[in-house]
């Protein structure tokens, strides 16, 4: 069974992470911000899988399960926040939610 080289997997993870981070920084729609955060979490998961494959340890794959759980919880909290924000502002634009401006 030919394996994917670790480098390739890591490059994929890095690309995903950068895409996610850019999404968080540039997207104004809160739904897309949450999705970008998911992408960053998945990038970390890919990096863990690659590491687990390289050192032939199961730990990395266990961490992926953890990441899935954290992501599910995060989405639950994030979406309920999104609903509350929409309820108050009638919008899902994160730039409009700036009550904490100093």
């Amino acid at each position: 069974m030919s394996s994917v080289p670790t480098n390739h997997a890591l490059i994929l993870a890095a690309a995903l992470f950068v895409l996610g981070a850019l999404g968080v920084m540039t997207r104004r729609n809160l739904v897309f911000v949450l999705m970008s955060v998911e992408i960053m979490l998945n990038a970390a998961a890919v990096a863990f899988v690659a590491a687990a494959a390289k050192w032939r340890q199961p730990d990395g794959q266990v961490i992926v399960i953890f990441i899935l759980v954290v992501a599910a919880a995060e989405v639950a909290v994030g979406l309920s926040l999104l609903l509350r924000i929409y309820h108050n502002w009638k919008s899902v634009d994160v730039d409009e939610v700036s009550l904490m401006r100093g």
């Binding site: 968080v24 994160v94 401006r101």
Partner: protein, 630 residues
């Protein structure tokens, strides 16, 4: 016995404390009784202590320490009292006169709103004054010294709603502070050079450490003299006392006549060893005394305000005491302090009766004809004025003033000039005191009487009048018999007057006595002429030179004007020039910088989620870069 001595000083403080704590709840009668009782008890105990001291004679000197006050480095100061002949006299006279004045005030001040506050301050004053005269070290003495200054300030400004009174209080406080600063420096010098502040140790160590007439001892003596001048209102720091008459009359009687203003005399007498070792400083003392008594005699002659007449007269009589100190007649100065305390308190209190009777009228020219309406005030004022004028043979003032005049002639440190000034001063004294008497009590009545004196007030007046007559008989001059128990009593503390051989014969003493007696009678006669021939004296006063001289003397020889030009105006100009305060600018600048930093930093708090996320990413990149490139 030492417990009783402590109680003498502590009881008035206790009274002040109680009055302060209970001020809201205590009814007036109780407050007056408490105020009088604390001082009265203090007087009774003082008499007991004095009686036991007299029994023991010179061996009765009592040193008692309550507890060590501070012990820092080489500085060891105790809360200690020292009782010797000098402090016995001071203690008894102060507590006795204070008690009588408290009795008087409990009635005369009864209509005041702040009756309790008045007695609180008065008790505090008596406690501080007794601490001053009984202290066994200079630091405790200084504590009492500042305490009486504080009470003087509080009581001059007692009627604080009138701005003028507040200004007078501040003037008194600031002017005496100049002297006190000099005195404090003197104490520092004594401590650094002698290593102790205990008075008896200082007096014992001074001759061993300092050469006679050396620079060090002269400097210390002059600095102490500075404190004495400020407190005792001598030229050139005398300007505060006439203005201090803004306070209630009992205050003027107690603080600004009988006791506090003589603290300077006490200080110099107490440190007499140092002054004896510095002849130059002692000469300055005598000169200041002579100048002051002459200066204020003339000023008293033309005042319209009855209390200002008495204030200038107080300055002048303390001038006599300084003259006595300056020529080495230490016990003469204390003798005059004693008689002066009686007759000047008496004069102020009977003047207070007159002022109260005439709706707080102070102007002599609006009084007159009160002889029949206020007989007690008239007779007691007459006794006081006679004693102040040194009416021969029958008054206390005659004996004490004559002792000073004789010493100023016969002492090695004195001389003809001092005697001449003192004798002319006696003429002035008789003239101004009887001028006030005639103007206030004789002639026609000009103002209706509003209020008569109460029983306690008359009692205080009569007792003081009695002592204004008999207090002099304990110090007879030699030509009138050798009865001088006061001088003998004081000889355990003070050396005798250093006599000049060629000027101290008994015949000379008799002649000088006669001259001063004649001059005092002449002064009374002049005052009588002035009053009898009003038209003639008015004509003199209204002529151009008469008016100019009058204005000059009335303003106290223009000292206030001079100080205004020399100190007050330049100070105000400097304050005005620096009204934006350049030192303050630095601290204001610190505040401004913090404010701008705050504005800049709070701009980073945009409240936008995306900016924070960008910040986190940037931070992560920086941290990662540092970790990788290190």
């Amino acid at each position: 016995m030492s417990i009783l001595l402590w109680l003498v000083t502590i009881l008035p403080f206790l009274g002040a404390l109680l009055l302060a704590l209970l001020s809201g709840t205590l009814p007036k009668k109780a407050a007056g009784a408490l105020g009088c009782a604390s001082v009265g008890a203090s007087w009774v105990l003082a008499m007991v202590v004095a009686g036991s001291f007299l029994q023991h004679g010179p061996s009765g000197v009592l040193n008692t320490t309550l507890y060590p006050w501070m012990n820092v480095g080489g500085l060891r100061v105790t809360m200690g009292l020292h009782l010797d002949a000098l402090s016995v006299v001071m203690m008894v006279v102060i507590s006795f006169v204070a008690f009588l004045i408290h009795l008087y005030a409990s009635q005369s001040m009864y209509d005041e709103d702040d009756y309790n506050r008045f007695f609180c301050y008065m008790n505090l004053f008596v406690g501080s004054m007794l601490t001053l005269v009984l202290a066994d070290n200079l630091l405790l003495l200084y504590l009492g010294w500042e305490g009486v200054g504080l009470c003087s300030y509080l009581l001059i400004g007692f009627w604080y709603r009138d701005r003028k009174n507040g200004c007078a209080a501040q003037k008194a406080f600031i002017v005496t502070r100049i002297g006190d600063a000099a005195m404090a420096v003197g104490l520092f010098l004594i401590f650094t050079q002698l290593g102790t502040l205990d008075i008896q140790s200082v007096l014992a160590a001074a001759p061993k450490v300092w050469p006679v007439a050396g620079a060090a001892v002269t400097t210390v003596a002059l600095l102490l003299l500075g404190g004495a001048i400020g407190k005792s209102a001598q030229v050139p720091l005398q300007t505060w006392l006439p203005d201090a008459m803004a306070g209630p009359t009992p205050v003027s009687a107690l603080i600004h006549a009988a006791t506090m203003v003589t603290a300077g005399v006490y200080l110099i007498a107490r440190m007499h060893v140092i002054f004896t070792m510095a002849p130059a400083a002692q000469l300055v003392v005598a000169i200041i005394g002579a100048v002051t008594l002459f200066y204020s005699g003339f000023s008293a002659l033309v005042q319209r305000d009855i209390k200002r007449v008495l204030a200038y007269s107080t300055i002048s009589q303390i001038g006599y005491m300084f003259l006595a100190l300056g020529v080495g007649a230490w016990s003469g100065a204390i003798f005059h302090f004693m008689t002066h305390a009686f007759f000047k308190a008496l004069l102020f209190l009977s003047a207070g009766v007159v002022i109260d009777a005439l709706h707080r009228e102070h102007d002599l020219f609006k009084m007159g004809g009160l002889r029949r309406r206020l007989p007690v005030a008239f007779w007691t004022f007459l006794v006081g004025a006679a004693s102040l004028s040194a009416l021969p043979l029958v008054t206390a003032g005659f004996y004490s003033k004559d002792a000073i005049l004789w010493a100023s002639w016969s002492s090695r440190l004195g001389g003809g000039w001092f005697w001449l000034v003192g004798t002319l001063g006696a003429l002035l004294t008789a003239a101004y005191s009887f001028r006030a008497l005639f103007l206030a009590f004789c002639g026609t009545q000009k103002t209706e009487i509003a209020k008569l004196a109460g029983g306690l007030m008359n009692l205080a007046l009569v007792v003081l009048a009695f002592f204004s007559v008999v207090a002099g008989f304990v110090g007879m001059p030699e030509v009138l018999g050798r009865f001088d128990p006061f001088g003998h009593f004081m000889s355990s503390v003070f050396p005798r007057v250093p006599l000049a051989a060629d000027r101290s014969s008994q015949g000379a003493e008799g002649k000088l006595l006669l001259i001063s007696a004649v001059l005092s009678l002449l002064g009374i006669y002049l005052a009588y002429l002035y009053f009898k021939e009003r038209r003639w004296s008015e004509a003199v006063a209204q002529s151009a030179p008469g008016r100019a001289v009058h204005r000059f003397f009335f303003a106290g020889w223009g000292f206030d004007q001079l100080y205004d030009w020399l100190f007050v105006r330049p100070f105000k100009a400097v304050a005005f020039g620096n009204r934006s305060d350049f030192i303050d600018k630095f601290f204001a600048g610190l505040g401004e910088a913090a404010r701008y930093a705050n504005i800049g930093l709070s701009a980073t708090q945009t409240g936008r989620l995306r900016n924070y996320a960008a910040g986190i990413v940037l931070g992560a990149i920086v941290v990662g870069a540092i970790a990788l490139l290190r």
